[in-house]
Amino acid sequence: MLTFIVRRLFAVVGLLLVVTLATFFIFYVLPQWGGETIQEMARQYVGRNTSAQALQGVIDRLGLDKPFFVQYFDYVKGIVVGTQYSNGTNLVQCNAPCLGYSFRNYTQVWPTILQYFPVTISIAIGGAVMWLGFGVVSGVISAVRKGSFIDRFFMGISLTGVSLPVYFVGPLLALVLAYNNNILQVPSYTSISQSPGSWAGGLLIPWFALAFSYAALYTRLTRGGMLDALNEDFTRTARAKGLSESRVVFKHALRAAIIPIVTIFGMDLGGVLGGAVLVEKSLSLNGIGALAINSIGNQDFPTVMGITLFGAFFIIMANLVVDVLYATLDPRVRL
């Protein structure tokens, strides 16, 4: 197990290198292949009306005139050990992981990401707890009461959840529950250390919106898994031992049905941690997803690259965690 994790961690580093290479290639090499000069690229970084002299300064600072692999090496080196660069007047220290400098915001990328991340992690974790909780509970109930009214009710909710996009559900909930009726707070972010109450209150609507669309999959997955598990021979054995029905369902059947759910949950959570784009953007919350959209609109390439790498990190780590969990949950899997 330990060797597996160590080996996989090396692979994580390799994968992240591949991701940096790909983003670097897309943002620095492809434009030049497309006929863009390095002067035009430099202008994109700083804005339109810049003197030729200032542009040359930018090119020097970014090293746009150096060969590709030198630039890439500098980029990776910055991420690993940090680097120094001039912002025009002073020499700035950019500590590892240095993901570059955004000329649009006049900030370093990594601190910006860290500044936006609490919003995303708050939305992701709260939403994930809700969708997992609701999905598993409704799935188990649906499976146990298969064909009943409650089963059809949950299946109906779940179908609605998949069908309605989160950027519709989120603003609708905000409109009905917050703006028109004052039942819930208008979506906003307050730091949890500042006030846990308003942290949760302000995020309830985004959590609902996120959970509503994600829970559908979990309801169906749990229901299907439970129906299979309840038909398994080992469930009959559990009954034959004289166990109560609740123990049969929650200990024996759910234990078997939970594994695919854990797998998907890890992947989903990893994805959302890299930016809950639609929820954040549609409810005006400044998380990583919103930052990504804004940066793309601003052609703020260093930030976009940084967020891509950040998101990739979470997905890759989620994969690793899922694999380890899988082996923990299923004793037949050997790592």
């Binding site: 080992f234 034959a240 004289g242 166990l243 078997a256 037949r332």
Partner: protein
């Protein structure tokens, strides 16, 4: 409660199943999986229930433990059960589900066919044995664990104190079935039901498991029901044999009698289709033609008549006429010879015995 067996007038048997019917309402119609079977079994005795797939033998065994989901008041969504299952005088069909649950795994336990799928893959063998014990006995985990190790030792698992923490997939097939048997014996059940206990096992292991079951039965003095399609399995173990066909018993009697002088054509078919080492290799096995009957549209008259080669002979002797097998459902009636040898066939007893002696026995 004080039940006296009305028919024999003797003391009530330990297990007395009377006219058990298990029907399932499905969209295609009523499935009569078990349609009126009766049998008795004493502690220390073994009953073998033999039949093809779909003859109702497994449904019977699951009914005894109350493992069928019962139908609602409209007769839908589960099994409609009628008749009586008297275990020590207590009827399990009319009993509260909670009461049956109390007895399940405790007074009566089951050994399933395929131990790989019948044991939970994600719990250790020990945890599953401990659970089986602690459901019915208020003891600490360590006490239950000690018992689990003892039982594993008793069923012949080497190094039980370390194997107890293994998962089922780490056991071999035979070991798994031993563990399954240990699990069923955790609470000293008085009634043990083994549903095809050796079908999923290697031939070499089958005999070991059967020996083990025989030893354990002697030791625990439990009543044992072995469900199988393999006559060889019950030949050595059973005191009584019930042959089932289409949800009904077609022949029921002491094992020796059923083996030495079977009287139902279906039982003959089972015997002639069984390979034997003591007959010339050139002899071909005689299969029973056709398929097991649909339990929704059970053939009229004798359920076996479409596959029986003696219907014509039957008609010749019957007062009803040549179509007796197609038209009249035969009763399970006492034959001559051994006491309690019951056969469900229209052929007159003498003709059955003569036919067996002249045409069938010679081919065995």
């Amino acid at each position: 409660m004080n039940f006296e067996d009305a028919r024999s007038g003797g003391p009530r048997p330990f297990l007395d199943v009377r006219d058990l019917r298990v029907h399932f309402g499905t969209e295609d119609g009523l499935v009569k999986s078990v349609d009126g079977i009766s049998f008795q079994l004493e502690r220390g005795q073994t009953l073998g229930i033999v039949g093809e797939s779909g003859s109702g033998k497994s449904v019977t065994s699951l009914s005894l433990l109350g493992l069928h989901k019962r139908a609602d008041k409209h007769g839908k969504g589960g099994a409609r059960m009628t008749g009586e299952i008297l275990l020590d005088g207590e009827d399990l069909i009319s009993a509260e589900p909670a009461r049956v649950q109390e007895l399940r795994g405790n007074k009566m336990a089951m050994i399933f066919q395929d131990p790989l799928s019948a044991m939970h893959p994600y719990f250790t063998v020990g945890a599953q044995l401990v659970e089986a014990y602690r459901v019915h006995n208020k003891v600490s985990k360590s006490v239950a664990r000690k018992r689990a190790i003892d039982m594993l030792d008793r069923v012949g698992i080497p190094q039980p104190s370390s194997r107890v923490d293994d998962y089922p997939h780490q056991f071999s097939g035979g070991m798994r079935q031993r563990a399954m048997i240990a699990m069923s014996l955790m609470c000293d059940p008085e009634l043990l039901i083994a549903d095809e206990p050796t079908t999923a096992l290697d031939v070499t292991v089958q005999a070991q498991i059967l020996d083990l079951m025989r030893d354990l039965q002697r030791e625990f003095n439990s009543a044992l029901i072995i469900i199988t399609h393999d006559l060889g399995v019950v030949a050595e173990l059973a005191d009584d044999i019930m042959v089932m066909y289409g949800g009904k018993a077609v022949e029921y009697g002491p094992a020796k009698t059923v083996f030495s002088s079977p009287e139902h054509p279906y039982a003959w078919g089972l015997l002639t289709s069984m390979p034997r080492l003591d007959r010339p290799v050139q002899d071909r096995l005689v299969p029973i033609p056709g398929n097991p009957p649909s339990l929704i549209n059970v053939p009229s008259g004798c359920a076996f008549h479409p596959r029986c080669s003696f219907t014509e002979l039957c008609g010749r002797y019957s007062a009803v006429g040549p179509d007796v097998c197609r038209e009249v459902v035969p009763e399970l009636e006492q034959s001559t010879g051994a006491e309690r040898h019951l056969v469900r066939c229209h052929l007159p007893v003498e003709v059955r015995q003569q036919t067996y002696n002249e045409q069938i026995r010679t081919h065995l």
